[in-house]
Subunit: 128 residues, 4 copies
DNA sequence: GTGGTCTAGACCACG
DNA sequence: GTGGTCTAGACCACC
């Protein structure tokens, strides 16, 4: 698996897992139907508590990104389970963009950074 | 008062205050030297405990956005408190952009949304 | 416990904790990865309120000396949080040195005192 | 007068005044018998509250550095009014030295910095 | 169990 | 009157 957890990251571990899986799906590394490692295996690899991984998988399932087939493991499922409002998608962008503005960067410079990040997030197979 | 707190927001109250003040500075509503309302006043307006506001003001001071004079008030102070690395500014962007990608939006569409948000975050003069 | 608080000390309690932990790190008693006692334990040992210790730990985290994991404990983490300018390190020296000068001590005598203090502040190995 | 106050300094204003006068005495710019400007004048020059300067003068008087002659103003008085224990002089040195140690500087390097500072504090007539 | 946040209320230091 | 600190006690998020 390409997942990692960073102790210095301010996000809780379960959130890092959730975001990590989403990133892998977004870039195409994980496709519809791809089986995911078991909770136990991820927990062992990342040296993290079992419950933490279970919470992450549970949230991914709630959001419709994972499909749990009883006795047959977990597979990726692209169809989102809950409807998303664009406002909810824009909100988390704002504090991040505000920080960039406060460093004195121009709108063009910030747009350039965003374009770089988008490119990096879509580069299939780009192991961090 | 230009600050608000939203009970539904997942960020803690003090963080909402911090982000709110930064946004006001970024858009030019608060300029260098502008006095801020007292801790007690903000606390009263927002129906929030005194200490919560004090924590927010303290963090803003640590980051160099406020200059707090003990018995006197608080004023905006743009000087950078700690140097920020661009990597630290890019990281919070990624989960937000990933969510946008997962909705199926194209890079162009996402860049358009970012441009809209940047425009909204700037008020007085779109400088640069 | 190696930490103490002195009611006669003019520094606030949380600052004494911060300085105390830094001193333990500087002398090598606390090394990278060493777990720190929990907030509750320190609070109990020193007969001080929980929040006061939490404030100290938080400041140490902001300065990059501690890595706090939410549900897990706290460990020492030497990585620098913010870059420090030498000028900021020299300033607090000046009032202290001025007081020594005013007692009539020679530069050599003062330098001797400083050397003594440096020796006392280092324990494990006087490296370098 | 050569006194200044810095809003960004963490010390309270009255303490900056106290330290400033002591520094001027230590470097010889103010000598025994030298008259000091009135509280009112200093307050006006520094654009600071009258009471703040009065508190500073009061503390300097308590420590024996100022002598107030009723109706004849205030003059410098080198004989310290209260006995000083060396331990009390060493204590404020420690947090400052600890910070220097934590940056990784060697004892020699730190001693060098101290020597530089001592030299600067003694340079008569060196306007900051 | 851990740390994080918030409240209510108190007292002190500063200007 | 301002901000700074501290307490006691509560509830929540995380592991």
């Amino acid at each position: 698996m390409l997942l990692t957890v960073d102790a210095n990251d301010k996000r809780p571990i379960y959130q890092q897992i959730v975001d990590g899986v989403k990133a892998l799906i977004a870039r195409g590394d994980l496709q519809e139907g791809t089986p995911l490692p078991t909770v136990r295996q991820v927990a062992g690899d990342l040296r993290v508590n079992l419950n933490t991984i279970a919470v992450a998988y549970r949230q991914l399932q709630d959001e419709g990104f994972l499909s749990v087939r009883h006795g047959a493991g977990t597979v990726v499922s692209i169809r989102p389970g809950r409807s998303i409002e664009t406002e909810d998608l824009r909100k988390p962008l704002r504090p991040a963009l505000t920080e960039l503005i406060l460093t004195g960067l121009s709108d063009e410079a910030i747009a350039g950074i965003v374009r770089q990040e988008l490119k990096a997030l879509r580069l299939k197979g780009d192991r961090r």
